[in-house]
């Protein structure tokens, strides 16, 4: 079977486009796909949920930028935080995994060091049924795009330096 290509930066977004601000992950993934369409070292994957199969994609990547909305943050706040693989992977669900558990699963299954990873979140104002973002999230989109661009370029640069 054809293996996923070696990727210097994997952008991994999740969210449900029918649940208002939860759809911001797929929206930003689409933006990143277009922004880096000419760069084959960047691979963008958007899913409704992160499932165990994505561990294989992570194992083939030099760095990972996770993108998700956050119900625990102030609506519209954009945050970038480093992600480490969970030391012990417990209480796993098969329908949805968090970023840290996905890194851990990739490490355990593919016997590879987890790649440097960051999680970009945008605080959700509403995750009710709907296809329109809240005002807070709409206003935050330009800064989120800028941060994605900076982070991806930095990850590509660091990946080149490590080679």
């Amino acid at each position: 079977m054809k293996q996923p290509p070696d990727t210097r930066c994997l952008v991994l977004a999740c969210g449900n486009t029918l649940r208002s601000d939860d759809g911001v992950g797929p929206w930003l993934a689409e933006w990143a796909e277009e922004r880096f369409s000419a760069n084959s070292a960047v691979r963008v994957i958007s899913r409704q949920q992160w499932t165990p199969e994505l561990a294989e994609e992570i194992a083939h990547a030099s760095s990972v930028l996770f993108i998700d909305c956050s119900v625990d943050s102030t609506p519209g706040s954009v945050k970038l935080t480093p992600v480490e693989a969970s030391p012990v992977a417990q209480g796993l669900g098969t329908h949805h995994l968090g970023a840290a558990k996905l890194l851990a699963l990739s490490r355990d299954l593919y016997d590879s060091l987890p790649p440097p990873a960051e999680l970009l979140t945008i605080g959700a104002g509403s995750i009710e049924l709907g296809e329109v973002f809240s005002e807070a999230v709409t206003a935050a989109l330009p800064s989120a795009c800028r941060l994605i661009e900076e982070t991806v370029l930095q990850m590509l640069n660091q990946s080149s330096q490590r080679k």
Partner: protein, 473 residues
């Protein structure tokens, strides 16, 4: 004083359910029920919609087997249109169905059940998951992911989406297979064969350790229903249904989709939203039966592909007649996954597979239509009635979990009687009661058309109905 045990939620299932175990005054298990606790009502939502929208609407019932609903719904629509779809479209749909069956069986075996099988029913529940499997047998964890990717990627190649592809439409499919996509699928086959071979070898290595579970995991005589071809080989997309008894004798054969409701009925119990499906001539509950991988392998005489036929011959050595223990659903699932890969290879070798004629077009020519297929979990039927404008006036779906409902409940009771002693249960005992349900791989969202979180839970009640113990994960 009698007591009741509740397992709520039951974990590692597709959907949300719970188990209650009723104890008598002596602390022995008197009764047990598997409850599916949420309702959705898709049939009602469908009323008033144009019939040609139904496949894509019905696919939204489930993210695990949307392809099954797509296909059963499209077939019901084609009965309304009175069309026969082009040969190539039929072949492409078969391939799509096989891809879904392979990925779904991989999910059931590797992600949901292999923690019990490889790590043990009594192993640390915190590690009894795919992470535990990754630590103990990483090659099997990778095989599971590889097999899932194989099926999902074929669905994506054919339907342009991994979940809820809109490619299947009434009359056929929206676009033919491109040569590059055919070649990409062919290139994936060797790894898929290796992965399923590894799973079969691992299963056979450990199955003997579970003789006690085999003896009490829904191990009782029952009837079996499934699609079969005229040459008595296995069938998932076309053919007609055969019902056999516990000795292997044919009760009824040639049940086509338009005869389905003549012979199949649905009963209701007050403790669950899932209906109990039964064979009308035998009545309820005597006419209950099992569907899915175990039933299909019990019914057929051959798989129709060489590697799977070798595995079927070995499988049938497990008993002289139908194999009764639901523990063997795991084994049957792997044999079917192997068949699915072989069948995909065979379909791709069809000289007409790249033909561009893949869709028949027609309007309403009948006011009623039904379609039936084999979903990964068992027989799935969609039945619609429309008005002269093609708007749905009535819809009924009968899904695998409804067919298996009686057997699942009897199986829970059998296992509870074996593992709950003196009004007490250990975590390992609890896990075994849950594991009986997992053998059937039920899809609860489909069966009630449920909405919400996935897991399942357990409660112990005394004779007065008071909760004396509960386990929620």
């Amino acid at each position: 004083m009698s007591q009741t045990i509740t397992i709520d939620p039951v974990t590692r299932l597709e959907g949300h359910g719970k188990i209650t175990i009723q104890l008598n005054d002596q602390g022995e298990v008197a009764d047990a029920h598997f409850h599916v606790t949420q309702v959705r009502g898709f049939e009602k939502f469908a009323e008033g919609r144009p019939f040609y929208e139904m496949p894509s609407l019905m696919a939204r019932i489930c993210g695990i087997c949307p392809v099954s609903h797509l296909l059963a719904s499209a077939k019901a629509c084609e009965a309304i249109m009175s069309v026969r779809i082009p040969h190539t479209a039929a072949q492409l749909r078969r391939m799509l169905n096989m891809a879904q069956m392979v990925q779904s069986h991989a999910l059931s075996f590797f992600h949901l059940s292999s923690p019990d099988l490889l790590l043990g029913m009594e192993s640390d529940p915190e590690l009894r998951n795919i992470f535990g499997v990754a630590a103990a047998r990483p090659e099997l964890g990778r095989a599971g992911i590889g097999l899932r990717r194989f099926g999902q990627h074929i669905i994506e190649l054919l339907g342009n989406k991994r979940i809820h592809p809109g490619w299947v439409v009434p009359g056929g499919v929206t676009e033919p297979l491109a040569p590059a996509k055919r070649d990409e699928i062919l290139a994936m086959l060797p790894e898929a064969y290796a992965n399923v071979g590894m799973a079969l070898a691992a299963y056979k290595q450990i199955a003997d350790r579970f003789s006690q579970e085999i003896s009490v995991f829904a191990n009782f005589p029952s009837n079996y229903l499934g699609l079969i071809n005229e040459d008595e080989s296995i069938e998932f997309t076309d053919g007609a249904l055969r019902l056999i008894d516990h000795r292997g004798g044919i009760i009824e054969d040639g049940i086509t989709a338009n005869r389905f409701t003549e012979v199949i009925g649905e009963a209701v119990e007050n403790y669950t939203y899932t209906k109990f499906v039964y064979y009308k001539p035998l009545g309820y509950p005597e006419g209950s039966y099992r569907v899915g991988p175990l039933a299909r392998l019990n019914i057929v005489k051959s798989m129709g592909t060489p590697k799977a036929d070798q595995e079927l011959a070995e499988f049938k050595q497990l008993a002289t007649g139908p194999i009764e223990s639901s523990f063997f659903y795991h084994h049957a699932r792997l044999v079917e996954a192997l068949y699915g890969i072989e069948n995909i290879e065979r379909i791709l070798a069809d000289p007409q597979i790249l033909d561009k004629h893949v869709r028949a077009v027609a309007g309403v020519n009948r006011l009623e239509g039904a379609g039936q297929i084999e979903a990964p979990r068992g027989t799935l039927s969609h039945h619609y009635k429309v008005d002269d404008n093609g708007k749905i006036t009535w819809a009924n779906l009968i899904v695998a979990t409804g067919h298996n409902n009686n057997a699942m409940n009897k199986g829970v009771l059998q296992a509870a009687k074996s593992y709950v002693r003196g009004g007490k249960f250990t975590e390992g005992a609890l896990n075994r009661v849950e594991a009986v349900i997992r053998t059937f791989d039920p899809c609860l969202s489909c069966s009630t058309h449920a909405f919400g979180q996935m897991p399942l839970a357990m409660t112990l009640l005394n004779a007065d109905g008071e909760v004396v113990d509960t386990l929620i994960r």
